[in-house]
């Protein structure tokens, strides 16, 4: 028997906000649904949100869960937590906060809170009509855990975002490795790979300005144009876009002319003029930080 907190049991025995939200096409209100999980793994969650369009405020949240005690309690907690928040605020809710709301979850059940957070993201992306890049890449990449159908992309993401350092932790967060266990060694390799990439990034970040600005210094060759574009793309993909996507927006690299980098702002980022300016600055400062302090970002 799992060791559950009183709060988990309370929400399990008497779940709040269970059920669906029907879309009655009320003016000014939109209903959105987010699905995550899989019946093969024994848990799945469908989250329904009712949002006031003018304010982006979540008026109501309900859930349907196929899952165990902690999945039901996590879903119930999530709906309680997000009611009354704006979508941007809701997107900041982390799986850790869901677990904290419950007074903690057994380590091996942390994936239930992750599922809650993912369903929330899915529902909000659906609402905003933004394709689920963050989730889509889960299905790309190499299949690592065939027991749970989990790819290296998803594992890498979990490792990066949660700073995981052991295969056991990966299992608790995304289930990979929790079946036959034959993929555990591969998960170890992925963790190692992510750490190496991270170290390399730090090293290359430090060496890039030297390369680009003064190629005569040291033994390193300057970056070719192709390398430079690849590096900009990499920083955008790995450091900038996840943050924007989480806030309902996105960015695409459009063109590069010397130090001038042209980007297209998408989703929520593209719609309002003040945020465009802020974002331009935010992206610029990250690229200056990582690549060259002379970079200028322009939104087209």
């Amino acid at each position: 028997m799992w060791d559950y907190t009183d709060k988990v049991l309370e929400l399990f025995y008497d779940p709040k906000n269970q059920g669906t939200i029907e879309d009655n096409h009320e003016p000014g209100v939109k209903v959105s649904v987010g699905d995550v999980g899989s019946i093969s793994c024994g848990d799945a969650l469908r989250l329904h949100l009712k949002v006031e369009e003018a304010t982006d405020k979540i008026l109501d949240a309900r859930f349907q869960t196929f899952g165990c005690t902690s999945a039901i309690a996590s879903s119930s907690a999530l709906t309680e937590m997000v009611k009354g928040l704006t979508l941007d605020e809701a997107l900041k809710v982390t799986n850790k906060e869901i677990a904290d709301y419950l007074g903690g979850l057994p380590e091996a059940k942390m994936h239930c809170s992750v599922m809650g957070q993912e369903a929330l993201e899915a529902a909000i992306y659906n609402y905003r009509g933004i394709p689920l890049e963050a989730h889509d890449d889960d299905d790309e990449g190499v299949l690592i855990c065939s027991c749970f159908g989990i790819t290296d992309a998803k594992i890498k993401k979990a490792v990066r975002h949660n700073n995981l350092f052991s295969a056991e932790q990966v299992t608790n967060y995304v289930k990979a490795g929790g079946g036959c266990g034959s993929c555990l060694a591969k998960i170890d390799d992925i963790i190692k790979e992510v750490k190496q990439e991270y170290e390399k990034e730090i090293a290359s970040t430090n060496s890039v300005p030297a390369n680009t600005k003064d190629s005569t210094l040291g033994q390193q060759k300057p970056l070719t144009n192709v390398q430079r574009i690849a590096l900009i793309q990499k920083v955008l993909d790995e450091e900038v876009r996840p943050v924007l996507i989480a806030d309902g927006g996105d960015v695409e690299l459009y063109d590069i002319e010397g130090d001038k980098i042209k980007v297209i702002l998408k989703g929520a980022c593209g719609s309002c003029s003040s945020s465009t300016a802020t974002l331009k600055v935010a992206i610029e400062s990250r690229l200056r930080d990582r690549i060259s302090k002379d970079i200028i970002v322009e939104a087209v």
């Binding site: 269970q18 019946i39 024994g42 196929f66 899952g67 165990c68 999945a71 091996a108």
Partner: protein, 402 residues
């Protein structure tokens, strides 16, 4: 709660029979001598141990000299497998089934890493093996066939003697894990093809920490626990005298009660099963209902998850068990139900009710009274309602394609 619980988890473990406790108690206090000692005190205990051994032998239809006391079913299984392989070092092939207890399955997996070839026989949707598949797998290189008598999760009984007859044609050793079957079905080693058979005390109302292994006379046996000359040199270690006395008493009671208890359990089990299937839509019995232990009923309640069912049952003081991933400690649902190819909708919501001779009609009726409400409550939470639901269908499809 603990005292008044409705205990329908007897395939996990059983309550120790009060008569068993009474029989063993003096051996925890006054009769503490070592049965191997030369003095009269020890000698008396050796006689008591012998009597217990006779009782266990009687339950199995075996000779007293064919019984080795062990610490548990796991030890019995491990010892039998190791003995069979050591006795025929030239043979490197083992046959078992996909639905064995981990005490067999995990030993076989380890042996595979040590150069043995293992065939894991598949099972059909009822959890039954195919004798043709067994026949095709048997070769002159097969050292051991080790299968369970009856499955702990579904109660499905394998056609043991038909398996044994084929095994004997190829000269392999035949080991049977009868931990779940003993005391529930009549056993007679005298007319059987079984070479070795494992039993465990705590499944037949003896305490935990005692078991026995039957080894047919003439089967070469090398000890798993190497030490002194106890158990005719086949298992070192000072005897667990209170445990042995308890197992002896438990065996005596099982033999005495077998027929009547079996009839009662079948009646109660069928009453439970029939009522649940009638009152609750979308559920089905897992396992081979024709060849099944009298006390076991494994029912899959579609679209909901087993751990949640268990916790709600627990609130009503009812103890049962589930094959769902969330109760297994790992993240995978029961390997037995998976091997049977059950759809995931049923698999995760499977509950095992296992009865014993103490189970009463009132207890069964109590389960019948609360289960429909529990299932309804959880189904109201579930996003899956029927097999046609788009999301569910899409998911099952992805699994097929994978």
């Amino acid at each position: 709660m603990l005292k008044n619980c409705i205990y329908l988890d007897n395939n996990a473990t059983t309550k120790v029979d009060p008569q068993v406790i009474e029989a063993m108690l003096p051996y925890l206090s006054d009769y503490y001598a070592n049965p191997s000692s030369m003095h009269t005190f020890g000698g008396q205990l050796a006689k008591d141990v012998k009597k217990a051994r006779e009782n266990v032998a009687a339950l199995l239809g075996a000779e007293e000299s064919e019984i080795i006391f062990t610490s548990c079913g796991t030890e019995g299984d491990n010892a039998a497998i190791k003995a069979a392989l050591l006795a025929q070092p030239e043979k490197r092939h083992i046959i078992t089934s996909q639905v064995e207890h981990p005490a067999v399955l995990n030993v076989c997996k380890l042996l595979e890493t040590q150069g043995y070839q293992v065939t894991y026989l598949s099972v059909n949707s009822k959890g039954q093996i195919d004798l043709n598949e067994l026949e095709a797998a048997l070769t002159g290189n097969t050292a051991l066939v080790t299968v369970m008598y009856a499955n702990n999760e579904t109660g499905t009984i394998f056609p043991i003697e038909e398996i044994g007859a084929r095994v004997k044609e190829y000269g392999a050793i035949f080991h049977v894990d009868a931990v779940q079957a003993v005391g529930k079905v009549p056993l007679n080693m005298k007319t059987s093809t079984i070479d070795m058979l494992t039993i465990s005390g705590h499944k037949i109302h003896a305490p935990k920490g005692i078991g026995a292994l039957y080894v047919r006379r003439g089967v070469r046996f090398r000890p798993f626990l190497i030490g002194g000359h106890q158990e005719r040199g086949r298992r070192g270690g000072t005897e667990n005298v209170p445990g042995i006395i308890a197992l002896g008493k438990a065996a005596e009671l099982e033999l005495l009660n077998l027929q009547e208890a079996t009839k009662r359990e079948i009646k109660l089990r069928d009453r439970l099963e029939k009522a649940l299937l009638e009152k609750i839509p979308d559920c089905e019995v897992n396992g081979d209902v024709k060849n099944r232990l009298p006390n076991t009923s494994n029912i899959g309640f579609k679209y909901i998850e087993g751990e949640a069912i268990l916790l709600l049952l627990n609130k009503h003081g009812i103890c049962a068990s589930s094959g769902s991933a969330c109760t297994s400690g790992s993240l995978e649902p029961s390997h037995v139900l998976r091997a049977m190819g059950l759809p995931y909708t049923t698999l995760h919501g499977s509950i095992r009710f296992s009865l014993c001779r103490y189970t009463t009609e009132e207890e069964v009726d109590q389960v019948i009274a609360v289960m429909p409400e529990i299932v309804e409550k959880l189904r109201a939470l579930s996003p899956f309602k029927n097999d046609d639901a788009g999301w569910l269908k899409q998911q099952e499809q992805t699994l097929v394609n994978r």
